[in-house]
Symmetry: none
Subunit: 277 residues, 2 copies
DNA sequence: TGACCTGTGAAAATCCTGTGAACGCAGGGG
DNA sequence: CCCCTGCGTTCACAGGATTTTCACAGGTCA
């Protein structure tokens, strides 16, 4: 179940992009400081103490790679060249102590995107990594994340639409964004304020019922195309939770048909107060 | 039509190494040395002694801009910001004497791609400019020359034209580029901003309706030559999607005429949000 | 039961897209 | 050098689609 990550708050006008970065360096001091900052920024970072085959880098789906050639010794140039050739879309930043113009030029010509000289402020290192990743993303705007499956439904970001065995739900933009947010946070209870903030992009006015209204619209469309499944659950006094589950037709008001939760919701599982329709 | 031009802005760059660069600096010494090298490398360089409006930069179809903020004085930040916002695809490199980490970070976050500190070797400056431009060019690795088929239409990049059984659609340059972009992204919903950015080469001004107007022109020409097919679909509040499909003349308001898709896009082919006519 | 919440339906307010036409510019002829 | 023509931009409007807002009804909790 590897979902969860990816651009969470990237619903729309978000400049903050979470970056997947790998670092090959052994400078523990620098690593510590940098690590602190990247964590704060919410980046996904992986520290490696030695070169790993480019093939594995591919599997990591990185945005950028920061490496200190000193760690690799003689193979550094060869390694750099192979990485740049195999992963033209990966942002490669070299970070080293001293260096000559010739070395820097050579690296840049090989395909390296930036060369930072230590000592350097971690903030600048991050800004440069961001800059490189930004450019990289701009070139390939359509390497979209695969469709997201939920119950009988398939959510396709590239079409701004959700489908149930081939049939579109005909969601409007807002409806889609709301659904996407919910689905990305599957299992989590989201408060109205949070939802509004992330889908609408600004703070919710007191007493605004928009979220409720859109939840209703979603439920209607979902119900029509995929009856037999419950997707959006209401948590009284709190908010909503997305969790696709086949409708256990317990007409009896019984004490909840305790579905095996996926765990993400942990202790909230039993708070199930009422399930839509 | 005497087009036969070269690479316009965004679509299809030839993979020549020649770089179109503009420099805003008044350091004659550096300019001279750099100029010599760029000439040798065959770059097209334009030296400006002061800021020029971003609109004119657009017209220059640059790959990169190297500028010394000292020349602009107080307006430097504002200018940088405007340029980066308006030309997201332009490589922007700042080259200055002394600077602080804070300044560099600010610039990089604004959208600047690299910050070089003088004194610097012109060779390194060039290598960095290349590195920045390289990312940009990689955008459209579209090397395929073969004609692109879509419905009854044949799109020939080599002719800057589209045909329907032999007859040309008489597309103008912009129309063709728009059509090509759409067709290359067949099945995907493209937002207006994206379209504008990629076809026009710079950021769309708020409220610009050019994309809509060109979509209309395309639809008209397509309709005239190939009635019976729907090519461009509107996604309300989002953008447009190209997906050729025979017109299912369901005049009946019936509950969806579930056409089995033509197959190109797997099982989701049918289902329109709104189909323009 | 009373105070709150949430689900609904529908009206009202906004926003978005399709269009037709006017403008301005640049190139080609005359 | 001036006029004509093709193209790309901008505008303003009309018809719809989508969002918000409201007033209520029905549930939930203490």
């Amino acid at each position: 179940m590897g979902r969860a990550f990816i651009n969470h708050g990237a619903l729309h006008l978000n400049s903050q992009q979470t970056i997947r970065l790998a670092v090959i360096d052994d400078d523990s001091g620098f690593m510590t400081v940098l690590g602190k900052r990247t964590d704060t920024a919410g980046w996904q970072k992986r520290v490696l103490s030695s070169a790993i085959p480019p093939e594995e880098l591919v599997a990591m789906k990185l945005h950028a790679l920061l490496l200190n050639p000193a760690v690799l010794g003689d193979e550094a140039w060869d390694y750099l060249e192979r990485v740049c050739r195999m992963l033209p879309d990966l942002g490669v930043i070299v970070c080293t102590g001293s260096s000559t113009v010739a070395q820097r030029v050579r690296a840049l010509r090989i395909g390296v995107d930036d060369w930072i000289t230590k000592p350097c402020h971690p903030e600048e290192a991050m800004a440069r990594i961001e800059a490189v990743s930004r450019r990289r993303r701009r070139s390939h705007p359509n390497v979209e994340v695969g469709p997201l499956m939920a119950g009988e439904m398939e959510i396709r970001a590239d079409r701004f639409q959700a489908f149930v065995n081939g049939g579109s739900l005909d969601l409007t933009r807002r409806e889609f964004e709301l659904l996407q947010l919910l689905a990305e946070s599957r299992g989590q209870v989201l408060e109205r304020e949070t939802i509004y903030q992330r889908v609408w992009g600004y703070a919710m006015a007191h007493g605004d019922r928009s979220v409720d209204v859109f939840i209703r619209k979603l439920r209607q469309k979902l119900e029509r195309r995929s009856p037999g499944w419950g997707y959006i659950h209401t948590h009284f006094g709190v908010g909503y939770r997305f969790d696709p589950e086949p409708v256990t037709d317990t007409t009896l008001h019984g004490p909840e048909a305790h579905m095996p939760g996926d765990g993400t919701g942990a202790s909230l599982e039993d708070q199930e107060l009422h399930v839509s329709t």
